[in-house]
């Protein structure tokens, strides 16, 4: 809501700087989003009488005027040709500061001195009009300040109105708040007009859709002088409040809307056939709106029609059919109340939001209709010469009356955490328009119908808190009667993240939305269980991820495009799979009403299953070579090492998705349970994700299975020296080292404390088709081991490797 301060002063007196006013409203009412200024900020604007006006000798497009400023004559160069000798014009004098901050100086334009400037309506903040100089009324006296006739500068507050406060979408509502805050009087204009116009009852009014239209009032104003322009001050206020002045009739309705928050529509009475019908549209009914668009309506949309055709999409926008124009002399004024939710739905379905629909959708007070009707009638009579009908057609079958809300001061004190005195509370609620009765800390507030948000005790307590001032609420801490803490799962997630960060990876958070391309490029099925968005921002984000991989790959590719040589990213987040419930009806009921049948589980009825995952992508050069270390590149074993760190006891078997290098991928299992996968990216997939030619490896694990820091368990150790032995064996190339290690471990030697692979080698002295595997053993017993004991253990190892793997022990 844009609130021009000069307009606000019509209803309430205040002696505050703009800054003080902004702070007061922000801290006690609603946030002030901004302050804008129009016209002349400081300086002097005076009435000038044009004495001479003619072309500039040195410029085709400029004119030059001699202007009488009351006792002195000055020369002014102008860009507009409309002034004439005798015309009264506003002249801003040198030294003045305009709304955009520029300071006007005496200037020489194409060789001629120009003292100040004659102003257009736009320059004065009156309207968007900028084709000519504003010509003032001939009664304005040369030399007198223009400020005597209307404000030449305006400050406008932009107030962010909460959806539950439609009353603040009108100047009077804002003024009421300010008057309450300042303990001062609120002045509401008294509408006044005579009657004697043509009767309204020459037309009929029929409200068919009563449920969507609690109130509809219609009044005729005839004898309107066609083509009138609204008075300058009305246009100025409308413009300052953010709307465009149009003509006297339309401006009067917009003015009253800005004043009261109540939208008003006017029909050209001559174009209305028989009467007004308020009905639901017929399915497929078309209407051509004022903005030229053709809209197709449905049966839930409310239409204001005459007996033959639709005239207005109720509360949203009018059609061309019966709109007022420059020839209009006889009007029907509609002031009505519509069901807010229905207006909102219509506005959303049509993608059409207007000043009117934005107000109606919040739910307006039907009792505002009467005041707004009288107010606009008064203005129409005054500004257009029209005469009001003596009768008003009104449909208002169930008048809304003020309701009562009890208020316990003890309760107010409890919720607000500060003392609330009866006198202060009563004063505040009265200033908001409530009638207060009751005693002994138990009050009853009669709530005015324009405050539809005040229904319950808590609503009144909110008003008390904010108008007393939230700065008065002290700071206190509750005594929390429970131990706090993270669940084991939450601790684990944190540990996972910290561990990966400690290992040198960077934590990313990526969008979980992705294009179809993700699944296609990874060779994954995108039809079955992918969750789709009904209204994605773009096709690029139409599905919910079923794996973390593509989002991280896209990020890696962006990093490459930015010129980085590589890096490692990880993310802990959820993936989504759809999980269509068997009983769709029960599912829909659960989703919409929370109703959970005894036999069903909430997760089964959700329809989407979420799985916590941890994933990483290593790409390019992870660690560039240093003077003392070799370069590290992304590869299977870099990724596998991370997995080993996160899932102790994991086993790795060839497997994992087809998007991985077929010879460098593994399914990760722990205790027989699938935990995820690890591998190098298939080169073709790498190419599709913008990583061609780069080494890239990745993993993705079930975050719940990870155990980065398993609970330790003490094991006794002996204070005797350990004995180390190395053994190199030559085996067939196909023999898997993991199986060799597993074989050695299967001996369950109580003395073998550590087993390590320290070399795998092919070529050289190793025969074709074979490889040499060098193992390092550490033995330790409860007593110092003899060579003989150790030799026996090594003998068992060699024996097993020879028997089970055809190994030959290499002698060095």
């Amino acid at each position: 809501m844009r609130v021009p301060l000069s307009w606000l002063r019509e209803y309430v007196d205040f002696d505050l700087s703009t800054g003080e006013l902004v702070e007061l409203i922000s801290l006690r009412v609603q946030e002030v989003d901004g302050v804008s200024r129009l016209g002349v900020l400081e300086g002097e604007v005076v009435v000038g009488e044009v004495v001479e006006f003619g072309p500039h000798p040195n410029a085709d497009r400029l004119s030059v005027a001699k202007v009488n400023l009351g006792g002195r004559e000055v020369q002014i160069v102008a860009g507009a040709p409309n002034p004439y000798p005798g015309a009264r014009v506003p002249v801003v004098l040198p030294g003045s500061v305009m709304a955009d901050g520029t300071k006007l100086k005496k200037a020489k334009l194409r060789g001629l001195e120009s003292y100040g400037m004659m102003m257009s309506e736009r320059e004065l903040g009156i309207s968007q009009e900028h084709t000519g100089i504003l010509l003032l009324d001939d009664t304005c006296e040369a030399g007198s300040p223009v400020e005597d006739y209307f404000p030449v500068g305006e400050t406008v507050l932009e107030i962010d109105v909460f959806p539950n406060r439609p009353d603040l979408w009108g100047m009077i509502g804002v003024a009421r708040e300010l008057a309450a805050l300042l303990h001062t009087e609120l002045r509401i204009p008294e509408p006044a007009f005579g009657t004697g116009g043509e009767p309204t009852e020459a037309y009929t009014l029929r409200v068919e859709a009563e449920d969507l239209c609690p109130r509809y009032d219609l009044r005729r104003v005839s004898g309107v002088e066609p083509g009138r322009v609204a008075p300058l001050e009305m246009r100025r206020r409308i413009f300052a409040a953010g709307m465009r002045p149009i003509n006297a009739v339309v401006d009067a309705t917009n003015y009253v809307m800005l004043e009261t928050g109540q939208p008003i529509h006017v029909f050209d009475a001559k174009l209305v056939r028989e009467g007004i019908v308020v009905r639901r549209a017929r399915s497929g009914e078309e209407i051509t709106l004022l903005d030229g668009s053709v809209r197709t309506l449905d049966e839930e949309m409310l239409l204001i029609a005459d007996e033959e055709r639709g005239l207005v999409i109720a509360g949203v926008m009018g059609a061309e059919e019966a709109e007022v124009g420059d020839e209009t002399t006889d009007v029907l004024v509609e002031v009505a109340n519509f069901d807010g939710r229905n207006i909102l739905e219509t506005s959303q379905k049509l993608g059409l939001r207007t000043d009117a629909s934005g107000r109606f959708e919040r739910g307006l007070d039907p009792n505002m209709v009467g005041y707004a009707m009288d107010r606009v009638t008064g203005l129409l009579a005054e500004e257009t010469g029209g005469r009001a009908a003596a009768d008003t057609l009104s449909h208002y079958p169930e008048p809304v009356v003020p309701w009562e809300v009890p208020l316990r001061l003890e309760r107010a004190k409890l919720l607000l955490g500060m003392p609330v005195e009866k006198e202060e509370a009563t004063g505040i609620l009265r200033s908001l328009g409530c009638e207060i009765q009751g005693e002994d800390g138990r009050l009853v507030a009669g709530v005015p119908t324009f405050r539809r948000d005040l229904r319950r005790e808590a609503d009144l307590i909110e008003e008390l808190g904010r108008l007393m001032g939230l700065d008065r609420v002290p700071e206190d801490l509750p005594g929390v009667p429970q131990p706090g803490g993270l669940t084991s799962g939450q601790r684990k997630t944190r540990l996972l993240r910290r561990t990966l960060a400690d290992l040198g990876l960077a934590e990313a958070i990526t969008y979980p939305f992705g294009p179809d391309r993700w699944w296609r490029d990874l060779g994954l099925d995108s039809h079955g269980d992918v969750v789709r968005l009904k209204n994605p921002l773009s096709q690029e984000g139409s599905n919910l991820r079923s794996t973390l991989l593509p989002g991280l790959l896209d990020a890696a590719a962006r990093n490459r495009a930015f010129g980085l040589r590589g890096g490692a990213l990880f993310e802990v987040g959820r993936v989504f799979l759809s999980n269509a419930p068997e009983d769709r009806d029960a599912s829909l009921r659960f989703r919409l009403t929370g109703e959970l049948p005894a036999s069903a589980s909430a997760s089964g009825l959700m329809g989407v299953q979420e799985y916590p995952r941890v994933g990483a992508v290593l790409a390019g050069i992870l660690q560039p070579a240093g003077w003392n270390v070799a370069e590290r590149r992304a590869g299977f074993f870099e990724a596998r090492g991370l997995v080993e760190r996160l899932v102790p006891g994991a086993t790795f078997e060839p497997g994992g998705g087809g998007f991985l290098h077929p010879g460098r991928r593994a399914a990760v299992r722990v205790d027989g349970v699938e935990a995820g996968w690890v591998g190098e990216l298939h080169p073709e997939v790498a190419g599709k994700f913008g990583l061609e030619g780069w080494p890239a490896a990745a993993f993705e694990l079930d975050a719940e299975i990870c155990e980065p820091d398993p609970e330790p368990r003490f094991e006794a150790y002996a204070n005797v020296p350990a004995v180390g032995r190395d053994l190199a064996v030559v085996v067939d190339r196909q023999v898997r080292v993991g199986d060799l290690l597993e074989g050695v471990r299967s001996l369950r030697s109580p003395l073998l404390k550590e087993l390590r692979v320290f070399d795998v080698y092919e070529g050289g002295q190793v025969p074709e088709g074979k490889k040499s595997v060098a193992l390092s053993f550490t033995f330790q017993g409860e007593e110092t081991l003899t060579d003989e004991t150790v030799n026996d253990e090594m003998g068992r190892v060699s024996g097993l490797l020879e028997a089970e793997f055809g190994a030959s022990v290499r002698t060095s």
């Binding site: 939710r341 909102l344 919040r362 955490g417 500060m418 909110e462 801490l477 962006r558 979420e610 270390v629």
Partner: protein
């Protein structure tokens, strides 16, 4: 020359040789030459028996003294030389300490999650538990149960992403309030960090962002408890001594609703050109309020017996303020130039 005279001569010669030895090797040569098996002094000692008896005692004494003196000289010279040699070796071993060390990995935690961890730790310290909930949420939990029934104007302001019928991507973490309250009885003290989604994309809005929701329901909770708790949280994250102020706010599921501002931790309102608060002196921090009685009733709590407060804050924005990040969109691009700064 008498034997003793010869011994003195040999001794002097040996002591000179020891003193003149420049390395442990030369010193060893001297030891072999003067004290070794075939040294002259050794020969003299071996031949003492062949001397006349009256000379034997004196020659024996003098030769022993000579041996001891030479040995002693050798020992001290050895020590000195070893020290010098060790020093020389250490000098040799000196490295260029200005060369960089072995590069141990340094990873990075996301700025939003750093803030979330800090806030969560604060509340855990107060005795709160941490609750989580689904990101694909039902219409009921996301809206209706929070006092936002179908058709309510507040719904249209949420720019919701819709999934299957009745399912949305949660537009706030508030549904977890409901889930938490439905699971148990008061007292309830929880914080709920998580991802949230709105169909909005411009320089200051991303379709995914984070919220931290909090809920306390107990007997006798007041707006003063809300203010004190959140002020302490803000000071924990942004710095001791900062001031807070409450403004009226509107959220459908609280009444009264408030917004909390924090005094600018950079300029405290003294710099009209402050980059952090833009000269306002205050930073918008969070929205909060006393839990609406309708919400308590919806989950079966008696609003006459229990009151509560709820709050929601945006850790992404808090991270922008705390670390001076100019653009929200940077958070979710996975750009290492960004991530590596945290």
């Amino acid at each position: 020359m008498s034997v003793t005279g010869r011994i003195e001569e040999v001794k002097s010669e040996a002591l000179r040789a020891v003193a003149g030895a420049g390395s442990t090797a030369e010193l060893e040569n001297a030891r072999v030459k003067y004290l070794g098996r075939s040294a002259e002094l050794t020969d003299i000692k071996k031949s003492i028996g062949k001397l006349p008896p009256e000379d034997r005692k004196e020659v024996g004494r003098v030769s022993n003294v000579a041996s001891r003196e030479i040995e002693s000289a050798l020992a001290s010279r050895t020590k000195a030389l070893a020290a010098a040699e060790r020093e020389a070796r250490l000098r040799e071993e000196a490295v260029d300490v200005t060369l960089p060390g072995v590069p141990y990995p340094k990873g990075h935690l996301h700025p939003t999650l750093r803030v979330i961890d800090e806030v969560v730790d604060f509340f855990v310290g107060l005795g709160y538990r941490v609750a989580e909930g689904p990101e694909a949420e039902t219409d009921y939990y996301n809206f209706t149960a929070l006092n936002i029934p179908p058709g309510h104007p507040a719904r249209s302001e949420h720019d919701t992403f819709f999934l299957d019928e009745g399912l949305v991507l949660r537009t706030h973490t508030s549904p977890v309030q409901i889930r938490t309250m439905l699971e148990g009885e008061p007292p309830v003290y929880v914080v709920v960090p998580g991802r949230t989604y709105r169909r909005d994309s411009d320089p200051t809005h991303t379709p995914m962002f984070h919220q931290i929701e909090g809920l306390a329901v107990d007997r006798g909770l007041t707006l003063a408890h809300l203010k004190g708790t959140l002020a302490a949280m803000a000071r924990h994250v942004f710095g001791e001594g900062l001031k807070v102020r409450l403004r009226p706010g509107y959220f459908q599921f609280v009444e009264p609703g408030v917004e909390m501002d924090l005094s600018c931790f950079v300029c405290d309102g003294t710099d009209p050109n402050c980059k952090v608060c833009k000269g306002a002196g205050w930073l918008e921090m969070l929205g909060a309020g006393m839990v609406d009685p309708a919400v308590l009733e919806e989950v079966g709590y008696d609003p006459e017996e229990y009151t509560g407060f709820a709050f929601g804050m945006g850790p992404d924005r808090m991270a922008m303020v705390k670390y001076g990040i100019p653009d929200l969109r940077m958070f979710f691009e996975g750009d290492l130039r960004f991530l590596k700064q945290f």
